[in-house]
């Protein structure tokens, strides 16, 4: 066996925590309270925070999954999930290679990216018209 092969590979990554999960959860709690009072939304960029693998796992297990799970297929897959806490949504963007390019926690009634966008409606009207025109009996 060559020297490289003699090095044991650790499958389980070290369980390091940065202690940043708790303040993050407090921030979400405050944002939820504000949202309840005056409807102001909040978005946290999870990738911008120093969190270890263990922290991410802990965050996932605390927030969990709720009733809604949507998959957006545009320039790669994006998973939009409501966590088990209503009002806290998890939005994970991946590119066409499957690599995660954005990870957000949104406090909102519904993440805006799920809603249909205006420019697409304009294209959609034109598209539907073309489909209608192609159907037999359309010229009636």
């Amino acid at each position: 066996m060559d020297k490289a092969g003699a090095i044991a590979i650790e499958i389980e990554p070290a369980a390091i925590t940065t202690g940043n999960v708790l303040p993050l959860l407090h921030e979400l709690q405050h944002a939820l309270l504000r949202f309840q009072i005056d409807g102001s939304e909040h978005c946290i960029d999870v990738n911008s925070l120093p969190l270890s693998e263990q922290d991410h796992r802990q965050l996932e297990s605390v927030l969990g999954r709720g009733e809604v799970h949507a998959r957006l297929q545009a320039l790669g897959d994006s998973e939009i999930t409501e966590t088990r806490i209503p009002g806290i949504w998890r939005v994970v963007h991946a590119n066409a290679e499957g690599a995660v390019v954005g990870r957000f926690l949104e406090v909102t009634a519904c993440p805006s990216i799920l809603k249909t966008q205006q420019p697409d409606i304009t294209d959609g009207i034109a598209h539907l018209q073309r489909l209608i025109d192609e159907l037999p009996g359309a010229d009636q």
Partner: protein
């Protein structure tokens, strides 16, 4: 090549829906270290941005920066950046060569005079123009000629930004960074050996969206180079607790402890490696168990061993101390001997006082 279209129009023409575009803007906002609340502003600016013509000049380089960039272009989101910019000249990537290539460059310069973006990788040899030439034109001449009509210059890689490996001692080619030759145009330094691919594209996008970004004292965009590796390192809790790996692959290293003792330059290096990471966020050197080399800092090749801790002196002070001790002992012994001699002379020349001396003194 349609320099007239905006970025938004170009992306739409490639079949990117609004959702796709917003998703890309969210990723880019995160990459530029802006808060999510900036998303609207980023989307609006990117949509309306005109595609600038880009001329890419490669000088004394290893092509690692271009490789880094083209790896990122495998991912379809970053590939769109190339559709969003009009890359009019890149002698490694373009299809044309020889006279046709140079004609293309001159045409692009002429058509977009004052507005094109000049991207440079590699350092410029000044000891002898013949060390690096393209189509018979020296690097220095090509840089000065092309920079004259550029709106801004992006120095990609530590070679273009600070001189890099060609400038390492003894610098046989007289390599200099771009900033030493061009002093009248805004220069954005994007150092790294190579720079992180998404940082290169992120800087281009940032330029498209907001124009010139805020730069630090070394001319690097604060969005990507504003924090040191140490400040964002996930192994920081171990540094604070005083838990260090003593050698490669020892117990501490396997537990993921801090690599300070192994020579990590994280504390004095500014780059986005700890957050953006490499290979689409897979990992970065420290996470893979190797100390940071400090490759986005000037003179990092000459800054002492990569494997000696930052706090340690770079020269052999143990040896110097031994010589100093020997020398000190000799000097001290000599001084001590001189003192002894003076004391003995004083003792020898000591004359006992006699009655006559007292009488003499009393008479005066």
């Amino acid at each position: 090549m349609k320099p007239g279209l905006t970025v938004g129009e170009t992306l739409r023409a490639h079949g990117v829906t609004r959702r796709g575009f917003l998703k890309y803007c969210a990723a880019v906002t995160s990459l530029m270290a802006l808060p999510p609340s900036s998303l609207k502003a980023v989307a609006a600016a990117l949509e309306a941005a005109r595609r600038p013509s880009v001329i890419w000049l490669s000088f004394q380089e290893c092509t690692g920066c271009t490789e880094s960039l083209t790896r990122s272009a495998d991912a379809s989101i970053e590939e769109l950046i190339f559709n969003a910019i009009s890359l009019d000249y890149h002698h490694t990537l373009q299809a044309a060569s020889g006279a046709a290539a140079e004609a293309a460059r001159e045409q692009a310069m002429h058509d977009n005079y004052g507005n094109y973006l000049l991207v440079v990788d590699g350092s410029i040899p000044m000891a002898d123009a013949g060390y690096s030439t393209i189509a018979g034109i020296s690097n220095r001449d090509m840089l000065l000629e092309t920079a004259a009509g550029a709106a801004a210059i992006v120095s990609v890689g530590t070679c273009a930004a600070f001189g890099g490996i060609p400038a390492a001692r003894p610098n046989p080619t007289g390599a200099v960074p771009v900033s030493e030759l061009i002093t009248d145009k805004p220069i954005i330094n994007v150092p790294g050996c190579p720079p992180i691919p998404v940082v290169i594209t992120g800087v281009l996008v940032q330029y498209l969206t907001f124009g010139l970004p805020d730069l630090d004292a070394q001319g690097r965009p604060l969005a990507f180079y504003g924090q040191s590796i140490h400040d964002r390192c996930y192994r920081r809790p171990f540094y604070d607790k005083g838990l260090f790996a003593d050698s490669f692959d020892d117990e501490g290293a396997k537990k993921g402890w801090c690599l300070y003792k192994l020579g990590c330059r994280g504390p004095t290096t500014y780059n986005a490696c700890a957050t953006a990471k490499w290979n689409n966020g897979t990992s970065f050197p420290i996470e893979s168990g190797h100390p940071c080399l400090g490759c986005s800092e000037p003179d990092f090749w000459d800054a002492g061993s990569f494997y000696h801790a930052l706090s340690t002196p770079t020269e052999a002070i143990g040896e110097a101390a031994v010589y100093a001790a020997g020398g000190g002992l000799l000097v001290g012994a000599a001084v001590g001997a001189a003192h002894q001699r003076r004391k003995r002379k004083a003792v020898d020349s000591h004359r006992k006082v006699s009655l006559d001396d007292i009488d003499e003194g009393a008479a005066k």
